[in-house]
Symmetry: C2
Subunit: 211 residues, 2 copies
DNA sequence: TCAACTTATTTAAATTTTTAACAAAGTTAA
DNA sequence: TTAACTTTGTTAAAAATTTAAATAAGTTGA
């Protein structure tokens, strides 16, 4: 029963990791996996895995475990990789370029429709199969193609304005790499702020204190 | 009292975000901030901020709040940005290049001593002020300069071997961008695995369910 | 200087999350 | 077919985290 009411973010945030490990198991040809085996592989507890999966329904079978392929697909569906979410990317700096070329969007249910940047010399060029447009074309492009999600790789200073603009164009999801923290000031807008340096600082703390 | 015993990871992982917001406040010329004002700015509770900060000592003053500059510096010290942690970066793909040029290491207590890659044509070139060496020189380099932390941007397949190698060279911290999950199989090694796609999938879930 | 006000510190309560335990169900092999 | 074994789904307990309340301390302006 995927009556996804009130599933905590703690659980949701673990799903992508399960998905990765199951994908690897599938690629290696494993047909079945028990919560115990998976937990020791992932460095977590079997109890947590069972508890997490049961938020979405009984995917396993007593005495057998979980079918790797099936569980992989089920989690994929929960995460929405089976639909294509129309998206755009804003800002072709080092990071924007890396993400556009590095991330396998199609495998993750994302259709990247276009890339936008203020630099006129980039307009007309491409990164992989993705065309780069000038930022001035953004409004028109959104009116025509109705993308729902934006990957924001702009410099900090311009981000706040860009967000407001994009919301007015119908964007309801932000994967934000800019240094500006997007807060949920809009009711129906979803945000994931990514701050690469945060985990670096956390690691710095650990190395200062755990070694 | 920074007798940092038993401070939970939940708290530690919030520190970098406090640090960012305080840095911004400082740059904007604010001298003082109350937990209440900071909490509404960050979209969290004043209670949590006060509780978090008190793990490390009383940085505030009743009736006044916190001195922005002082609190910024204190959190910086806790996170270790006041020391320079010798580090290396492995793997000059799109992502490795973006991180080397994008991340402000010096501001975060990291001294990037060198970059390594298997591609011989990259050896001798640089990214910003950071020199690129051939991967074959890694062992010798570590023996001479004793870096403690490695930023891993290698392809999945080679990662596991690289980790073992680096541990044997004295690396005790990994900031890992490869698709391979580093588990804590070594007792005194600290790891932060970064999986950019995880937050994308989480956002995908949110957009499927919250809108 | 004093009184009203602000705000941190500290303690306690509530909530959430994680872990453990157990009964029910299905597998496996003789 | 059956009995021992495995493993899940589920319930309950424990632990951790977050939020709230109460207390103490310092600020500010008249």
């Amino acid at each position: 029963m995927s009556s996804n009411v009130n599933i905590s973010m703690s659980v949701i945030k673990r799903l992508p990791r399960y998905y990765r490990f199951l994908g690897k198991l599938r690629d290696e040809g494993h047909l079945r996996i028990s919560s115990g085996a998976l937990s020791s592989m992932m460095g977590t507890t079997a109890s947590q895995i069972r508890q997490d999966l049961n938020c979405f329904g009984g995917f396993g079978q007593q005495g057998y475990g979980y079918n790797v392929e099936q569980l992989y697909n089920e989690i994929g569906k929960i995460l929405g990789v089976d639909r294509m979410l129309d998206s755009i990317l804003i800002g072709v700096g080092n990071l924007g370029r890396a993400i556009a070329s590095h991330m396998e969007f199609e495998k993750r249910g994302i259709a990247l429709l276009g890339i936008f940047d203020k630099n006129p010399s980039l307009a007309g060029t491409s990164i992989k199969q993705y065309k780069i447009y000038h930022a001035d074309q953004l409004k028109e492009f959104c009116a025509e193609h109705h993308p729902k999600m934006a990957i924001v790789c702009t410099p900090t200073v311009s981000t706040e304005k860009v967000i407001d603009e994009l919301v007015s164009y119908g964007i309801t999801g932000f994967w934000n790499y800019s240094h500006f923290d997007i807060l949920s000031k809009y009711p129906n807008v979803n945000v994931q702020n990514v701050h690469l340096s945060d985990s670096l600082l956390t690691l710095g703390y650990q190395m200062k204190n755990n070694c």
